[in-house]
Symmetry: C3
Subunit: 397 residues, 3 copies
């Protein structure tokens, strides 16, 4: 697209009115139009920033972040997105907070939200917990708003839960769209989401799940590959199947990395933990059985070690479409000989794809900002137009 | 009130010129007019935010926060207030700072204040220390400003000291005013500030002290109830007595929770530590006698345990005015069966008052913002008017 | 200067075009004109702030700070500078970040910089490491910008490395200029940068190095004094020599504090660690030889203890020019009888110079803001003029 009007025209052709005042939990809650609206607003915001047009739509307001797990990329992406729109990030650091033993999520949620427009939550540590926490939090602020406690209802951006990682996968997808020159060129393309060996055990399932739950919506042939036993949540596999059916693509599974890579246009090799083991871990944690957790960890590491051959090697890359499939990763990757002895990917492969990989990551701030805009403005087209007319420079000139 | 002009008219009738460029340590330093000015500006700012009028009065400037004790509510309230006015919060985390062993408060105070407009300090850990620290800090910046080191003199918002918790009690009071339909309706109302059992010992005295120091100024009959030995600072009791005399209300004490609750219009049941024990603790701390502190803690827990019957039960609530006194708490409360086995309040009582309790908390950001405005602007009426005329939307529309 | 136009005229007479889009590593990378431009913009920004003219030149954008060592003064100075220009600080706390073991600096640098305009880094812990890290970081973002990953190239403000501490020394120098009424009055003045005893060992070399690398450029007679063995980096001494030659001043060394103080117009007594020992320490650290580090520490403490007579006493101060040389320190100082038993300076000397010392520190936020402006704007004169014409008040009036 060449002008901001092109993005606005695109938005005018889409129906996303349900996004207004609503949350972003999982991509499969959203219609195709809604996802396209996110991509379009993300691109529009990038276009404006590149043309030094300020997109400050808030004069004041907070973006609350809650990271129940460490984060660099997502933390900075959320901060960048909020800042781009005029919101100030206030991090709820549970260690520094006076969150009483037994204080309800309902109370905390209301207490931090009096002037919050957006809540970003990362909670991916325990299967069955992350999404539940986000849901409970948002139910509390919905009620708080209805009861007249909160003047505005802050909206959620899921910054990774146990089920989905929508800001990551939407950024991945926007990258694919740009690389392939448009959604219309994705039909029939083969995407391999495959497990890969990493020396650390227990990496979140939300990325592979998010990928098969999203990428099956664009008519692609999505293959999920992993060693036996490394299944993801069955519910998400079901979603992937249905998506594939209605999009005219396919969703298949295999226990062979070779098969998945063969002729693939896009590969996403990444470690994760078996869903069943992670469920067991949650239960052990619930029972306070820390010896059990240690034992499970050892078992999982031993199990992983049997699959060191699941690596994205130069050899494997050669078997992809024309030997040059688009390599994706959410980063940081475990790079053989760089960040570990044996890892997910050969150093030479990673190096060759470094620039596109970093570009992939660069979409996340815009995807988050787009999710915020679409949830806070009933008519974002109108707002974009007004910003263009106002033409306040981001950096004075 | 219906229009912003109503708030401005109200302000025009009050004398608060001494607040300009001044600090907010304790409510009893302030005249009745000054407190009313805080309530009025707080309500005006809320009115404007609800009508999407930006109240950004600073284009740049820092609000420095120093939390020498954990905090969620007050931290987010301070951040919200600063953000609402255009100030950016910069937290002085003493752990991350290069505050040399032996570095003077005088030096630190100047070093962080070069571009600070407001300083918010919570220091409630040790009797005899918190206020002293705040005072020393503010004396240093006053001198720094006089000496030409600081271009502006940042003003203090006491976010809780060992003596008073003015942002909390002013928010509590503003809540009462709204619930009862105006200050003029409070004459003769009975308010019970009573001790209640909590499994944790050593909760700050600043809330009960702040409450009796403030609530006695509105012609109410304020009763302070606690088990024998749980006295608060005698100086604050003196203030409460004098306040009651000049406001035409009363201030009485009792060792019976039942007596305090009987026919009360407002109840504030909350745990605190005996003043004498807290003084002793400060001395032990000063002497580095940590065994002594452990011993004292055990004694206090045992002493507390004798008063588990001091709880805000359904039964007690029935004895209040029409069985439906307004229940107050600064939160988080120790709720029986929810956050602890036996606590300050029955779960069913807490649940019934949840919405008003959260509304009570919602006033704190506005109270803090009002304190800032009144200390930074000689004529806040004029500023409010200009903001209305400017009519910049908080969220673009 | 009396009007903003005076500063603009001054800037018009200087050549600093190479600063645009460039980094600030070391003062000796910069021409005399460039340093004078920093001083001039710093003074201009201060002038504007004092006249309540907003200098907000960014509508959005991040200032990323990375503190690999504790900091209060520099942290708040960086935050103040960013805020003054409209940038929001986002701190990369390596402890809270998901920086994978083995993640490359190149990756982290790109990941945090998508919307970063400025990067401020303090890394002064290990000789041979700090500058290297900063360089690697900036090379990565330069490449990222060239490769289309980053839309803008963030510029560096060195907040202290192992070699130089330019924001400190430039603030020190601006203080000297103001105290002496202009650069033109510095010719022939004697400045003593001398070692002083402190009970802590291993204080960074960047301050003495920065001082001799900068202060030799103004025609002053700079003396570096330290006990035998406490040499600084030879490369920086070379720079100091060359500077002195071309500025018409001198650079000499002595092992006598008395000699250095004699008739000095300016004294800067401060502890630091011997360069050779710090190099050894870096090697031990690299080898993971922590016993060796402990042993070295003990040796250094013993060595230091032999030089307790290197202190800025009243007696020594009397030997300076008219007994009243300007006393400088980067703070916090080790004050005898205040922050330690025996330290760098007598309490009475420190007290007498407290106000000028704090003023010295007050220049740092403006120096940093000036470095940012000069790296982000090709024609800062034009921007300053526009800000004056716009005349948006910093605090509403």
């Amino acid at each position: 697209m060449k002008t901001l009007q092109d993005y606005i025209d695109k938005l005018n052709s889409l129906n996303f009115k349900e996004m207004y005042n609503n949350d972003f939990f999982w991509t499969w809650d959203k219609t195709d139009d809604e996802l396209e609206a996110v991509f379009t607003v993300a691109d529009a915001l990038r276009f404006m920033r590149e043309h030094n047009i300020s997109t400050k739509v808030f004069e004041s307001g907070l973006g609350i972040s809650i990271f129940r797990d460490n984060s660099t990329r997502t933390r900075f992406s959320f901060a960048s997105a909020c800042n781009l729109l005029g919101l100030e990030v206030q991090d709820l650091d549970e260690k520094k907070s006076q969150i009483a033993h037994g204080e309800t999520v309902r109370e905390t949620a209301n207490m931090v939200s009096f002037m919050a427009d957006v809540i970003g939550i990362r909670d991916d540590m325990y299967i069955g917990k992350g999404h539940t926490y986000q849901k409970e939090f948002m139910d509390a602020v919905t009620e708080g708003n209805k009861d007249g406690i909160l003047e505005q209802r802050p909206t959620l951006v899921n910054l990774q839960c146990d089920v989905d990682h929508p800001t990551q996968c939407m950024a991945d997808m926007l990258h694919i769209i740009h690389e392939f020159g448009g959604v219309e060129n994705l039909k029939g393309k083969k995407l391999a989401m495959t497990w890969a060996y990493s020396p650390s055990y227990g990496k979140p399932l939300s990325v592979p799940q998010g990928v098969i739950g999203l990428m099956t919506r664009f008519g692609m042939d999505v293959v999920l590959a992993h060693p036996e036993g490394y299944d993801v949540m069955p519910e998400v596999e079901e979603i992937a199947k249905k998506n594939a059916e209605s999009s005219g693509g396919s969703f298949t599974k295999t226990n062979s990395m070779e098969e998945a890579f063969k002729n693939a246009d896009i590969v996403y090799p990444k470690s994760w933990a078996p869903f069943a083991a992670m469920e067991k871990r949650t239960n052990l944690y619930g029972e306070g059985d820390f010896d059990g957790i240690d034992k499970l960890e050892k078992e999982l590491l031993a199990q992983n070690a049997q699959h060191k051959d699941w690596a994205c090697t130069e050899e494997l890359m050669k078997t992809t479409k024309d030997g040059k499939a688009l390599y994706l990763h959410c980063l940081p990757a475990d790079i053989t000989g760089v960040s570990c002895e044996t890892g997910e990917v050969d150093a030479s492969v990673f190096d060759r794809y470094r620039i596109p990989l970093y570009k992939e990551a660069s979409f996340k701030p815009y995807v988050i900002a787009a999710m915020i805009m679409l949830s806070k403005f009933e008519n974002p087209q109108d707002i974009l137009k007004k910003l263009e007319v106002k033409a306040a420079p981001r950096i004075m000139e």
